[in-house]
């Protein structure tokens, strides 16, 4: 399947090789084999329980929070297997940021939320932190809305603003990749639209992997799409091709809304 994709323009960031994953004795991911390219948006679509979230959480090893998880196979991140013992999860996660399904700001001020990552990685200088906060909030298209109330509690923001704050918080430690696990599922259409515009803008500087329930969202914002079903990748390719000319009957059924 990998060979069908034209990789010439963009560098490979993640090379997933024969990845299997079990929760205890239940296999959740089966023989995944595809690549994720630099400065592209890769959408992971599929019905509930198909392994989308499980997969995206392997990319920063957040899946290891679940005690019974076992994996086989490899995920090469810029050429190194990220399951390798020599890679520290802390190091990996500073390079691979994550935005969650439900906005999860800390019960702190907007400013403290944005600079949290910078602070835990040792940056103490006030001016530097302020600069980081401003740049990150600007990148997350939130600066104009919050610049006058940076010291207010983040819980005073709307859901959509909170989610953009979480994006800003992830961007503040200058990651390489941004993983988004259904980032708009808790948001209204207007807030969703703003996040989608933001994703469009961010892919110039970041590699983005986004799990989404909405095929329309995948169609609008992604370059590549992987269609997951029962832990397998049924089809992977350019989003345009998958949506206009699906090769697999099951993909066609899903994107035309016959199930899922």
């Amino acid at each position: 399947m990998k060979n069908l994709i034209n990789n010439k323009e963009n560098k490979v960031i993640y090379d997933v090789k024969n990845l299997n994953l079990w929760y205890g004795s239940d296999q959740a991911l089966k023989n995944l084999d595809f690549t994720i390219n630099e400065n592209e948006v890769t959408a992971i679509i599929g019905p509930s329980g198909c392994g989308k979230s499980t997969f995206i959480k392997t990319l920063n090893r957040m899946i290891e929070m679940v005690p019974s998880v076992k994996t086989t196979g490899e995920i090469l991140y810029r050429g190194t297997n990220l399951f390798d013992k020599s890679i520290g999860v802390e190091e990996l996660r500073t390079k691979v940021g994550m935005v969650f399904q439900k906005p999860n700001p800390f019960p702190k001020s907007i400013f403290e939320n944005v600079v949290y990552g910078a602070k835990i990685h040792g940056i103490r200088n006030k001016n530097q932190l302020m600069e980081i906060a401003e740049n990150s909030l600007k990148s997350a298209a939130l600066w104009d809305e919050v610049k006058d109330r940076l010291n207010d509690n983040a819980y005073g923001l709307s859901g959509g603003q909170q989610q953009r704050l979480c994006i800003a918080r992830s961007l503040a430690i200058q990651p390489d990749v941004l993983l988004m696990d259904e980032p708009t599922s808790a948001l209204d259409p207007i807030a969703t639209n703003r996040i989608e515009e933001l994703v469009e803008k961010l892919k110039k500087d970041y590699t983005i992997v986004i799990v989404t329930h909405s095929m329309h969202q995948a169609g609008r914002i992604s370059d590549k799409t992987a269609f997951f079903l029962s832990g397998e990748v049924v089809e992977f390719g350019n989003t345009k091709d998958i949506f206009s000319n699906p090769k697999d009957k099951r993909t066609e059924d899903y994107i035309t809304g016959r199930f899922g």
Binding site: N60, M62, M65, P67, V89, E90, E91, L92, R93, T94, G97, M98, F100, K102, N104, P105, F106, P107, Y116, G117, K119, I120, H121, Y155, C166, R169, S170, I173
Partner: protein
């Protein structure tokens, strides 16, 4: 309205009254207690009583030494239980793998909280009093009391830590935070109010407790106010206990015991109010 509906409404009224009476029962008992202590201590509870030390003359007796003893005892218990209790709770909730060791420790902490206080007194007597040769000093009493309330602090800290939502931990882990960083920057700031509340409540249990100190052999009569943790001491509840024992020979001791009880109850009331204040003030919404 038919008869069956009437009966049902009547039953409802009766139930309402019965439950109200049950609720008032506790209030009534407290009322009697305060009334009894109040009438008995009139004329005895005054500034002199708080300021004076013990004396063989009941009229000149005071509880200054016992108040200082109780406060110093707390000064030993608080740091010991906070450090040991919170550390244990952090280990169990944030580090230990959910498995046999963790549930074994958890089970034993629950068992420990069910052990009668007099048995902790025996433990304190053996380990701190005799083996470590601390005698019946404040240190020995404080360490014994710490063991007694430690399970309460552990369990309430565990609950406070468990109440911190996982999505906050995830946010921190996803930015490359280590376990300890997550605990320090996310878990503890959110859990501290709950931990403090539990600790204050357990301290108020400790200063009201008598049995372990009796077993440790706290002296009946102390004329010297303790100045260091190695000194002998007495506490308010111990004072109440000894005065009550001797009321047959000296009836005035009943008045002294009542006056001391009022002081002790006011202290406990203040501590509990402080705990509630902390809980309300720092209660976070997520």
């Amino acid at each position: 309205m038919n008869n069956r509906t009437k009966t049902r409404l009547l039953l409802d009224k009766l139930a309402h009254k019965a439950f109200l009476l049950s609720a008032l029962f506790a209030l009534l008992i407290l009322g009697i207690l305060i009334y009894r202590m109040g009438t008995q201590s009139i004329g005895w509870l005054n500034f002199e009583f708080l300021k004076n030390n013990l004396s063989i003359f009941p009229e000149k007796s005071g509880i200054y030494g016992a108040i200082i003893g109780s406060l110093r005892l707390m000064a030993v218990i608080a740091p010991v239980t906070i450090i040991l209790g919170v550390s244990t709770a952090i280990y169990l909730e944030e580090y230990a793998h959910k498995g046999k060791l963790q549930s074994f420790i958890n089970m034993n902490i629950s068992n420990l909280s069910g052990v009668p206080s007099v048995i902790f007194g025996l433990l304190g007597l053996t380990v701190f009093g005799r083996m470590l040769n601390l005698g019946s000093s404040i240190l020995a009493g404080g360490l014994t009391m710490s063991l007694l309330v430690l399970p309460i602090v552990v369990v309430s800290s565990q609950e406070a830590i468990r109440a911190v939502p996982n999505y906050l931990r995830d946010a921190s882990y996803a930015m490359g935070a280590s376990n300890w960083t997550v605990i320090r920057t996310v878990v503890l700031p959110s859990a501290v109010p709950g931990i403090l509340t539990g600790t204050i409540l357990s301290l108020s249990r400790a200063i009201g407790e008598t049995a372990p100190l009796v077993v440790l052999g706290i002296p009946t009569l102390i004329l010297k106010v303790p100045t260091s943790v190695m000194d002998d001491f007495t506490t308010l509840p111990i004072q109440i206990y000894y005065w009550t024992l001797d009321t047959v020979l000296t009836p005035e001791y009943a008045n002294l015991a009542a006056a001391t009880s009022i002081v002790l109850i006011i202290m406990l009331f203040l501590m509990n109010s402080f705990a509630i204040y902390i809980r309300n003030k720092f209660q976070k919404r997520y």
